[in-house]
Every structure is written in structure tokens, then in C-alpha cells.
Subunit: 558 residues, 2 copies
Amino acid sequence: MSSEQERTLSVMALGGVGEIGKNMYVIQYGDDIIAIDCGSKFPDESLPGIDLIVPDISYLLENRDKVRGIIITHGHEDHIGGLPYILKQMGMPVYGTRLTLGLIEGKLKEQGLLGSTKTHVITEDSTLQLGAFTVTFFKTNHSIPDCIGVVFETPEGTVVHTGDFKFDLTPVNEESADLHRMAEIGKSGVLALLSESTNAERPGFTPSERKVGLHLEEVFRKAQQKVFIATFASNVHRLQQVVDAAFATGRKLSLIGRSMVNVVSIAAELGYMNIPDGMLIDPGEVGQYSPDKVAILCTGSQGEPMAALARLARNNHRQVEVLRGDTIIVSATPIPGNERNVSRTVDDLYRLGAHVIYGPGSSTGMHVSGHASQEELKLMLHLMRPQYFIPIHGEYRMLHQHRQLAEAVGVESENIFIVDNGDVVEFQNGRGRKAGKVPAGSTFVDGLGIGDIGHMVLRDRKSLSQDGILIVVITMSKATGTVLSGPDIVSRGFVYVRESESLMEQANGIVVRTLAKLQEENVNQWNIVKQKIKDALGKFLYDQTKRRPMILPIIVEV
Amino acid sequence: MSSEQERTLSVMALGGVGEIGKNMYVIQYGDDIIAIDCGSKFPDESLPGIDLIVPDISYLLENRDKVRGIIITHGHEDHIGGLPYILKQMGMPVYGTRLTLGLIEGKLKEQGLLGSTKTHVITEDSTLQLGAFTVTFFKTNHSIPDCIGVVFETPEGTVVHTGDFKFDLTPVNEESADLHRMAEIGKSGVLALLSESTNAERPGFTPSERKVGLHLEEVFRKAQQKVFIATFASNVHRLQQVVDAAFATGRKLSLIGRSMVNVVSIAAELGYMNIPDGMLIDPGEVGQYSPDKVAILCTGSQGEPMAALARLARNNHRQVEVLRGDTIIVSATPIPGNERNVSRTVDDLYRLGAHVIYGPGSSTGMHVSGHASQEELKLMLHLMRPQYFIPIHGEYRMLHQHRQLAEAVGVESENIFIVDNGDVVEFQNGRGRKAGKVPAGSTFVDGLGIGDIGHMVLRDRKSLSQDGILIVVITMSKATGTVLSGPDIVSRGFVYVRESESLMEQANGIVVRTLAKLQEENVNQWNIVKQKIKDALGKFLYDQTKRRPMILPIIVEV
């Protein structure tokens, strides 16, 4: 940070640039810091055993006295999933709309943080005074209700954070994004715009959510038996359209999947969903109705092996069965990395004789994205007319494409900053520049542990998973320095001992000879002995098998 | 197999149905067996440490005296990749076209199998008499030259295996698929058709390879600097079009990537590619030419981290550098599962300031599939007019879609068999039926080991990769049965000991107390002692960390 930070405005990402997920942004003016969102993301196969990834908040911990609060733009996991983990480390007031807070409070309760956390309900019309910041909001559309963009008025000028958005001109059960408010904001002058880039690679204009409803109802009407719809539990608009389609076609609706039940109850309770009385039935009751009078709304649209749809496809759900002739709608597009799981689930459903509607929403009409495509991103840039532009929420190529869109609508190239997590963009006297870095990165959650899994542990896990481990136990006499017992070699994940006795016997011989040689040479520092055993055994095993198991010599003195 | 197998015709898959890859099919009449193809596939993340998967050929090993040979339909890895591994276990004559054998012989040489293997060159006009089978062929189009379909005339009737195919009516550097020959085959009566299903989900007609050439040349012409093209090395037609585009635009061409150099030399030597003299330059010479006079053809179109394109993108190639303003063409569509690697590579290339053309071929025009889409699959079914139909080469939903196409063109539903690997379809007196199973499945190649990695070893590797391992070493006195040393607890992949000393001390205490308790109870069978330690320690660690490391007690007696 600059030495004059008390008089400068700084913007930085703690997560969400150069990646999809774990969004977290920080805006600071002098001694006042506000955080925006705190998301989580799931690890890929390169992080074995890790349950969840959340932002590294060292910078906030170092400056805890300056943090005035955190503003949550909406209730998706990549914006709220990390909240419980940072609130465990430092308390701060949490600001969000009603549905967003409803979803957050569910999480805080699970983690026993509800009592200790101050939450404040805001609406798109709220105004907050947080330190030097006057904070206002504007309504956006997305794949969950109650989404907001955030406007920070500061002595250096106005900074706008869009959150996730699309422009839905025929939205379901809510208002369209507030174009007029956005126009006013733009008119009154925007120093810097932070706008999301998830669909920056996608040409055109993202279709309206309403489009999905028409296709849903058509399928509901034609289906002769049960209809299953898998979609994201958080897509309340989609859930409402499923309810509407079921109602229009005289079907009862049953919910399967913990998060589905959870979201529907919260959304209905808070008035974000209208469910006709008596329409919802328990999974256990499904069998009591004629198949053409029932629909099932379930989780697992990404083929998650433990979620409802995959369990139904493997036919191991206690109460509901997929039967020949049933119709399954996968109302989602596979997120890169999930294709295999989705495909496996579709295969299993076909094996059961079901009729399956799957594939990208563009081809099935059963899904639309919640994110702005290129024309909408340009529309946002036009409305806001920012002096400076920082594309956020996306991997590098998406930020790059978004940069090109901004240039196309007239933002000065040198006023566009593509940043990495931790990069600080500083504004002073109306000029913006990249100015150094703050700590930022990934904090791994594994079981109850937060951040206690380091890269060495992960490296060990990876190497263990590749060729397993060989443990060599040798018992030495303290008195005489001679071998009392062993070497005993135990292997896990390498090869069956019984399938490779001779290999293990030879390995044993290698260790015995190595020890003998070392004794001749009077080498008796255990670390050297261990290293020599590792080297000799490692070379032997690689020559024999072209595999490199981890070798762990253990020397016990008695 | 039926007891009357000497008088029946049987068809079975040893690999390639219910999956993509490791294609291998078997046709048998009485005591005569012919194999078709022997592919390999790469493991997904569920098989840690495995290098390659090849078919389980137990059935052929049990019947080695009956095997008359193996026919290879074309030179792709999913059709030839397993060949060296089965030829190590049993010799058999190998039949293939010139390019196919050229690629196979390269593999056999690497594995020292060239001398011991009889290979026979065939053409689409060859006729083979193999036991009871009269075998003929027909030319097809695909993403590699010299592809054939196979016709087996048997006393029970004619069986046709299409291999991989598309219908390219304006092919590059070769003839179109032989429609007239296929029509003849169909006219003379086909008992059973085995047809590939890779693109059975895709509507329409796959575009001609020629379409790509036009787009390539356009980009070559416009590019102001170096042009890099990444594509499958085996796609010789594509390689030829890159050569043509380079020639038309006055660019020298350099090859990067072992398999690229390898395939180009084989294809050129056998006359499947025409490369103007003096056009090819070494990577080391690239710097000597003006950037607008050079093109680089490289491997890595799937973002494979160790392949040329990913190395270039990370800027760690010894001889060639990607510079700001260079153009990179990814002439391929990411195979499901590879999206992340491709995306990372594109991100890295953008970071270098390159202009990148990537994404599905349908949108970029830089790639077309080598597989028949729905209209072509129907065309094949029309031409062959089979009495029985077995969709092959595909995951279940693809086979299912192909079944529906066959029904649409008039094949009797009850005459269509969707089979799993190992299912036997038997034909007798003109009637076909499913008749039992033969052993079939996956053989894992890991280092030098073929099939020596069992599911228990894989289970160990997976559990090791999740939460690591704790080794508990205890030295006991044979004489007194008392503990001489330990418990010593060593962990790998669980947590840093130094980060969690107290946890390890408590763990130690748990073991000590467990041992004491067992001694009071005079329990001294080591297997029971070990189990008690596992249980007590496992429970303690799970309660403390919600993690389940593998626990390995080792008791040494001295």
C-alpha cells in the first residue's frame, strides 16, 4: 500500500479474479475498509482431500480495526460460502437483502455464529454511511432474487461494483434491473466500475428466465408419468416456474435434496415464492398419486454423486423410484469439470428406461444463464460510463474479453486494469494506478481445519495417491548399534505384497546390504542412514517397476 | 458361451461400449476367433497413479489357440493403444492398412515387439480367409487417413463393423467413403451391423474437413506475426491443410511435439502428406525468419500440461517463444474432462499478449469432428439395411440415441442390442440373442506393471490422497510382552506435526492407554491389538479434526 494511504482510495480483490468462485473484494479509503462478498469454491482434483476453498483474509485481519463491515451482493455460495469461516476469525457487521441474509443466517446457525454476528437488512433503496463511504445500491437481475449492485461514494469519486447480473426484461416474480437508477449513477459520474465477466466470452444477450417456463410447462403437459426436474436450489425464479408448471398441469410437487427443501422453505417464508396450498407433498407420498399427477423437484443438476438426482439415477433413494417412461429434466448447463458426472447420471437414467432432457440450455431451452452476455456487459458499461474499469468475476481470458468490450464502448485502454487477487488499484486526485500487492490467495478447509493444510501436506497426499507408500521399520540396539529386528517393509497403495513377494524380498535385501555397508563405514547418524535407504530402495523400485512410491524409513532404538 | 458354440456365430465387445476408448471387439464362429482393434484410454481422477487403461483379454488368453488374428480399423490410440500390451501376453497376426501399420510399428519398436509380431498390410480391396471367415473391407472417412470398415462373411451370415467413420463428400487428400461398395454390401444382405455411436447425440451432418482449410488460410494471411496451430498429431488431413495454408501464405513451418514430428515423418514417408521441399524448419531456426514468414504446428490441443502448447503458453520452451501479437489457433474441441486444462492454457497465452482462437469448432470453424452425426448414422443404417443392429463406440446415452436412430430408419426394436463389455450376442439359424457373458473389463497399466494394480491398491491410494496416513510403531519385548519403545507416531499427508504437536501428543496418549488396557485384559494377539489401536485412534482423530487418515499400526518384537 502507498505511504499516503490515509488520503488515497484503494480497491483490491481478495478472491474472484483469475478464477471463478470465492469472490471477495475490498474497498478502502484511509482508515475505512469495506469488504464485498465472501465466497467459497470447490477444489479441483489437484487438491486431494480439501473440502472447500475460501479467501485468504490476512489483509483484513491485519487491519481488523479499520473494517466497517461486509456487504453481500446476493446469496450464491461463491459470494457467501466463505462468510462463516472469516466470521470465525473476526466479527464484522454483515449487510444484505432479505433473501440473502435469510440464506446466510441458515449457514451461521449451522456454525453456531448466529448470536455473535450483527446482520443488517438492506434494500436497493437503502443508504449506508460506513466511515468515509456513503453506500447506495441498485437492483439487478440474476439467477437468484434480491440481487444488488453497490455504489460507493467517496471523497475520490464514485466506485460501482455490479455483483453478478444480467438484464432480464421479462423477469419472473420480480422487477427488471433498475435501468433508470443505473443511468442516474452513470450520469452523476463514475470513477471506477467493477463489473462481472462470467459470460464475457459469450456473444449476444442472455435469454430471459421466462423462456424456460414455457418449455417446462410444455414438457409437464406431454409427460404421461412422473416428471423430475433437477436444478440449482438457489435459482428461486426457476423453482417458482416449476411450481407454476406443476400447478398449470395439475401435478403435486415433491422436493428431494436437503438444500432444495431448505431454500424453498426460506424463500416461501420470506415471500419470494408463491406455492399454492396443498401442492407440496412428502417424497413418501409420491407413490399415492397417479404418476401423471406428480412432479419431483430435486438437487443434483451437476451430477454430484451424492445429490438427489444421481441417487435417484442409481435407484438408491429410499422413497422415490425412477420408472420406465418417467421424464427427467436437467434444468442446468454442466459447469466445466462436471460433464463426466452429469453424463454418468444421464447414462444411469437411460438405463432405467427414463426419458431424459439434458444438454446445454441453448439446445434444450430448459436453462438460461444468470450472467450478462457481451451485449449486456456493453450495456452496463454504457450506462455507467466509467473513467476506470476493472473486470472482475472471471478467469483471465474472460477478464481479457471484457477488457476488449470496454475498449469497444470507448473506455481508455490505459484506464482498464486486469488485476490478480491481491493487486491494489489506487486512486488519488482522480488518477488511478496499480500500486503494489496485499496478501491474497486460497485458504483450504479440510474437515474442521481452516488453513492448517499447507502445500507440503498436499504434495504428500498427491505423491501418496500416485504410487503409494513403503514403510521400512528397523529396530536398533542403543547399546551396540546393531540391528535387533527388521527391516520390516510394509506397503500401502504400491503393490500387493502377496502379488510381489519376490520384489519385496529383494527390497529387503537392498536395505540389509545398505545397512551393512553403512556400518562398515561407521555411519550412524540416523538422518544419513534414512536418506541412504531411501536412495537405494527408491532406485531399485524405480528400475524394477518405473514407479516412485514414497519411502519412509523408521528407525527405532531400544 | 452356449454349449453349441462350435455351430454358432458370436459377437462381443471386450472394450468400447458403455465408454469412450479402449475399443476392442471379438467375432467368433466355432473354433475361429478374430479380434477387431485394441485401444487404450486414459484414466480419470478416480484411478490415481494409473498411466493407461487397456482391455482385459482373459477371454482371448483362454482361447489363444483359436485366435486367427486381429484387424485394426485405423491408427488412433483408442484403437491401437492397447496392442503392445496384449501382444506381450500373446502373439497374433496383425492386419491393417499401410498408415495404420506404420503407426503400430512405431509402438511395437518402442516396446521391442517388432521382430516377434507378424504384420500384414491390407487395403480396402483385400480379401482375407481367416478360418471360417471371409473378410473384406470398405473405405471410410475419419480424422485420420486409411480408415476401413470390416465385413465378415460367415456361414451364419454377414457381420459388418464400421470402425470410426464420417461421410466426407469433399475430403482432403483422399477419396470419399465408398458409398457404392457399402450399397453392394447392404444389397447382398447384412445379418448384423456394428456401427459407431460417438456423435449419436449430435443432430445433422458433420461438416467436411475441407471447411477447416479455408478458415486456416484466412487466418494465416491476416496474421502479422507468428502463427501457432495446435491439433491432434494423428489428424493427417488437418496437418496437410496446415502445410497448404503455410505454403499459400509463404510461411515456413516448424513442428513442435514428439508425436507431431513422429506422425509427420511417417505420413510423409508413406506418401499420406505432401510437404514442399524446404518448407520444414527446425524450431531452432524459427528466430531466423521474419515472424510473418513462420508458422508452428504443435501438439497440446487438449491443454495437456506437458505437451507443446501448454509449455509454450508457460513460456518454457527452449527454442520457440510466444510473443505479443502472435496468433494461436487451437484446432480442436476440448474433450469432456479437458476443459480446465485447455482454459488454463488459453489464459496463459492471453497473459503473453497473444491473439487466441479457441472454443468449439462449430463457433471458430477451426475444427470439425471425425465422427458421423445423426444423419450420417442413419445413412449408414440405410446403406447396410441390417437385420440386427449393435451400436458400439460410445457411452450408454450415445448407444441409446443410436438405437433410436436405428428404430427411426426401420430396424426392428427387438433386433437392436445395447450391450455391455463382455456381453455375448449369439447368432444361430438366422436368429440373434444375448447369450451370457465373457470376462471383460479394465486392465490398468502403471509403470512397467500391467494388470498388477488391483482395486484394493487403488482404494488405498484414494484414501491416502484424502487424509494421508498415520503410522504407529510400537516395539515389544518377545520375552516379557512389555513395550520397549514407542508408540512412535509418524504422519504423512495428514497434518504437519509441528503445526499440531498437542494433537500428536494426545494421539500418543490414546495409544498408550489402549495398550495398557489391553495388557490388563491380557490381550496379546497382535491383530486384535492393532485393530483396537486403529479404532481408538481413528475415533479420536475424527472427533478432533473430522478427518479419517489411514492408520497403520506396526508392532515390532525384539
